[in-house]
């Protein structure tokens, strides 16, 4: 009976409400519409009236431009595509909204003290191994998928920065072996309360690198001492043990390369040395480079091998840029990286004021003088450009040392951090980026009386497509 009563009451209430419901609904909905229109209108006006972004610091690229109209571009669909892309790509405060989006997406995951996030394709449990020396060299692309995602607008160009045509383009399988078409990507690990992004290494032979250096040795003879110093990726040291199957040993590759270089070429083993200093900040957590401190230990090892005078780091002036977040944020789109900045600490030699740095175009003309260690715009993201301001140039440093020694450094961006430690060791230092040099390097070395030639670059470059450029430098 009671239940019946309750049901009756309920239905009365229901009927009673239904009678007035249309009026209430109309009133409530009219308010809801106003709220929707207000929110929608604010967003629409914001997108329309605020200045459009023109480049993205996170993605390191220029954003899309408004397309030019023509009948051809219209009927091919390029014009309308360009308009949509322009509008969507150049949202005001784009980077801030992207960051907000990454933060929002991070709530989807479970975060633990020792969390690991893998970015990029996952064809795993096939530990890639260095291939036999007889095979073509190969390697794996770092986080290609995330990089692709960042370059959504295919018709926009990248901002020139430390990641342009960087060592992020190692060769993929040329030998058709499925094992080496694997893309391992990047893993983000949390350790001691801090996040660190690590580029994984898929193995390689370095055949092209070995061949190029041996050819240089043949062309230059024993008049010029040649050194090979390959910098390992941070994943060599910081990959958690249970993820070690995701990355190949770089030490094995270095040893293999060293064993195949001509006797006259000196291999500088920095893999072992850096291994002793992993408790220090020798690699950035948020950037794909080593730190200036890591480069210091490498330079020290090189100085030992070359028998040079070398000053202890305590004699250098220490400079700090706080709040640095490097390229790994763009690669991984992981807000934890952005929210966990680090200090960019670099060291300037005490004789800096007595040294003159000349910056040339890539054909060694149009000289201009400015500092080796230079200020950069947006240092919180571009601090690594502190070294010479970038890669696309030839730099000559005239030091106050008078020992007749002249060094040519052939490098990728890893090598940018090295020459600053050698200002007290050489009379002249030439810094040449293997990707941006228009002259014949053998002739250049001979004409300028270079005594030592140092090849220094990261593993990806030594086993990847950048190595092909070395032999081109010799023959072009």
């Amino acid at each position: 009976m009671e239940e019946k009563k309750k049901t009756q009451q309920k239905s009365k209430l229901y009927i009673f409400n239904r009678a007035k419901r249309p009026l209430v609904a109309d009133f409530v909905c009219s308010i809801c519409i106003r709220i929707f229109i207000a929110v929608f209108g604010i967003i629409a006006l914001f997108l329309m009236l605020f200045p459009h972004s023109t480049e993205s610091q996170i993605e390191k690229r220029k954003l899309a431009e408004f397309p030019q109209f023509s009948l051809q571009s219209y009927f091919s669909g390029e014009f309308t595509k360009g308009v949509s892309t322009f509008y969507d790509d150049t949202v005001p405060y784009r980077d801030s909204f992207k960051t907000a989006g990454y933060n929002f997406k991070s709530i989807f995951g479970l975060h633990t003290d020792d969390e690991v996030k893998i970015v990029g394709a996952k064809e795993l449990d096939k530990k890639p191994k260095p291939v036999e020396p007889s095979q073509n060299q190969t390697s794996q692309k770092p986080a290609e998928s995330s990089v692709n995602e960042n370059s959504q607008a295919s018709d926009v160009s990248k901002v020139e920065s430390q990641v342009s045509e960087e060592e992020s383009k190692p060769e993929t399988s040329q030998m058709g072996d499925a094992e080496y078409t694997v893309e391992n990507g990047i893993i983000v690990v949390k350790h001691n309360g801090h996040y660190r992004a690590l580029e994984l290494f898929g193995g390689g032979t370095g055949n092209t690198y070995v061949e190029a250096l041996n050819n240089f040795h043949k062309d230059l003879g024993d008049d010029v001492k040649i050194y090979s110093m390959i910098a390992p990726l941070a994943s060599e040291y910081y990959t958690p043990a249970n993820y070690s199957g995701f990355t190949a040993s770089q030490k094995e590759v270095f040893d293999s390369i060293a064993s195949r270089l001509d006797d006259g070429i000196v291999s500088v083993d920095i893999d072992t040395v850096l291994g002793y200093h992993t408790a220090e900040d020798i690699y950035f957590r948020t950037d794909h480079h080593w730190t200036p401190l890591g480069a210091y230990y490498a330079a020290q090892e090189f100085a030992k091998a070359a028998g040079l005078d070398f000053k202890d780091i305590s004699t250098y002036n220490k400079n700090t840029i706080e709040g640095f977040v490097g390229t790994m944020y763009a690669f991984t789109q992981d807000p934890n990286i952005n929210n966990d900045p680090e200090d960019f600490i670099y060291y300037t030699p005490s004789n800096l004021d007595d040294c003159v740095t000349e910056h040339y175009t890539t054909d060694f003309t149009d000289m201009s003088e400015w500092d080796f260690f230079c200020g950069v715009g947006d240092p919180q993201h571009n601090a690594y450009l502190t070294f010479m301001g970038g890669d696309e140039q030839v730099v000559k440093v005239n030091t106050n040392v008078k020992n007749g020694k002249k060094l040519a450094v052939v490098k990728d961006s890893y090598g940018n951090a090295v020459p600053g430690y050698l200002f007290g060791s050489y009379e002249e230092i030439y810094v040449i980026d293997m990707r941006y040099f228009d002259l014949n390097l053998v002739d250049f070395i001979k004409e300028n009386g270079v005594t030592d030639l140092l090849f220094t670059m990261v593993t990806y470059s030594a086993v990847g497509e950048n190595a092909e450029k070395l032999d081109i430098l010799r023959t072009q």
């Binding site: 419901r21 329309m48 893998i118 996952k122 692709n148």
Partner: protein
């Protein structure tokens, strides 16, 4: 580049302009004019040339519809029906299946015809089926042929449902083309529905696809499939479950936006999804999944007396063959259709009454297993990877290839997307529907008002968050644009 619903340009330029223009005046003629112009601009944005084919298709079907009305109950009517459907299907076959047909002919016959790469006009599968349904309805006299071309053009080209459905029958909006006056509740409910659809796409579907593409490859954006031969048993299951959820949220999200936008303009489209994952049988799944397509095949193909007395089962397999083929010019889609056809055939043989007596847990597990494996077939147009998928998911990969039972990468992906997956599963259940029902139907007016207020705030939040996520998703076309 298609003008996709989930883009800032569509939302805050196109829709803003259309909405303002639409509500500038009240008379229906003006509003129809606005919608026709908007629809043609919408289509021409992605297809500046094929928009003329859309207009041609509309003109041809409208004209033949009139003729069918004129010659009703005469043999001429049949000829007109045949002509219209013949042309409609011919266009569909030319644009969608030529390459596939030539490829297969080259395999079967000792010939080597160059495979043409014809770019398919977007939405052709949808508006062709709408046109066919109109022609058949005219012939069956369930609708009156539309006398005015512009009104028929509005029906066929109406932009909310033009490129990816739902397949709206003419009878559904016949009255509303001439007479509609959207109430405040229509605009509110429509806006909420559209925003929920947008969020399903941007937050859930895109998030789930990010997991899928890490393992299976970014195939929806033209990249090849990854080699999945060494994927672990659990890894394969995890990713294909994510893919199943992705397809659901991607497509039902689009349908929600279409239905919502339609309602904002005063049209009431039929539902296209009804929580398909709560089904207990495969037959029930198809009563809840892509309803407008399955009902199209049911009404216009299944009941056609093609195979005489044996039509029931022969038609059943014909329907499922066509359902598969409709989804794409690839064998995996045909296999996918027939796969479901087989299970529906088996269920028909067992009988609904018997199946109802089965334990609910058993039927749920049975149906989900079949559905998820089905989406695996749907996923891989590359037969080698489809083979690997079957090997992995059946456990044979562990037995014969030494694949792992589980792997650290899967575990890692699960942890990094744990709440996304849980949330997606929750949203695929009718929880929100029940909450809405409580606030709307059983609560008093205060509860109703509070419910509406919460829903409005929730939708505003979703709109803002989806818009922010769209800043980073400039290329995220809907899956069903491919069909």
């Amino acid at each position: 580049m298609k003008l996709v619903f989930s883009s800032l340009f569509f939302l805050y330029v196109f829709m803003a302009v259309v909405f303002l223009a639409y509500y500038l005046r009240k008379d229906v003629k003006y509003r129809n004019f606005v919608l026709i112009v908007a629809s043609l601009v919408f289509y021409a944005w992605g297809e500046p040339i094929w928009v003329f084919m859309l207009i041609f298709s509309a003109a041809m079907n409208w004209f033949i519809g009139l003729k069918i009305g004129q010659y009703k109950d005469t043999p001429k009517a049949k000829i007109f029906v045949g002509t219209a459907i013949g042309i409609d299907l011919l266009l569909l076959v030319i644009f969608k299946y030529t390459g596939f047909l030539v490829e297969n002919l080259n395999v079967i016959l000792p010939i080597d015809i160059p495979v043409p790469h014809i770019v398919m006009p977007i939405g052709i599968s949808f508006f062709t089926f709408q046109a066919i349904s109109y022609i058949m309805d005219c012939y069956w006299e369930t609708v009156k042929p539309q006398k005015h071309f512009y009104k028929f053009l509005l029906y066929l080209a109406l932009f909310p449902q033009l490129v990816a459905g739902p397949i709206v029958r003419y009878s559904v909006i016949e009255q509303e083309i001439d007479k509609r006056s959207p109430m405040t509740i229509d605009i509110t409910e429509g806006a909420m529905r559209a925003i929920i659809g947008l969020s399903k796409k941007v937050i859930l579907a895109n998030g789930l696809y990010n997991i899928v593409k890490e393992y299976f490859g970014d195939f929806l954006n033209g990249s090849p499939y990854n080699d999945i031969s060494s994927m672990s048993f659990l890894g394969t299951w995890f990713v294909v479950i994510c893919y199943s959820l992705y397809v659901y949220f991607d497509f039902s999200g689009y349908s929600d936006i279409a239905i919502g936008l339609g309602r904002m303009f005063g049209f009431h489209f039929n539902e296209n999804f009804n929580y398909p994952f709560i089904c207990k049988t495969i037959s029930e799944f198809w009563q809840r999944w892509h309803i407008s397509l399955s009902s199209f095949f049911r009404d216009y193909l299944f009941y056609m007396p093609i195979f005489g007395k044996q039509r029931k089962y022969a038609n059943l397999f014909l329907v499922w063959f066509c359902t598969g083929l409709w989804h794409g010019a690839s064998w995996n889609f045909i296999l996918w259709g027939l796969y479901f056809g087989v299970f529906i055939f088996i269920e028909t043989k067992i009988g609904k009454k018997k199946m109802k007596k089965w334990n609910k847990v058993v039927t749920h597990i049975y149906s989900k297993l079949i559905i998820v494996v089905g989406f695996g077939i749907f996923c891989f147009s590359d037969m080698a990877q489809l083979g690997n998928f079957f090997v992995n998911i059946s456990g044979m990969g562990m037995l014969f290839r030494g694949n792992a039972f589980a792997d650290i990468a899967t575990w890692n992906s699960l942890l990094n997307n744990l709440f996304l997956v849980i949330f997606a599963i929750a949203v695929s259940m009718p929880i929100l529907q029940k909450v809405k029902y409580f606030f709307n139907e059983w609560g008093n007016n205060t509860v109703y008002t509070v419910g509406k207020g919460l829903a409005t705030l929730g939708c505003c939040y979703l709109l803002v968050m989806s818009s922010i996520l769209l800043v980073d998703n400039t290329n995220n076309p809907f899956l069903y644009f491919r069909f």
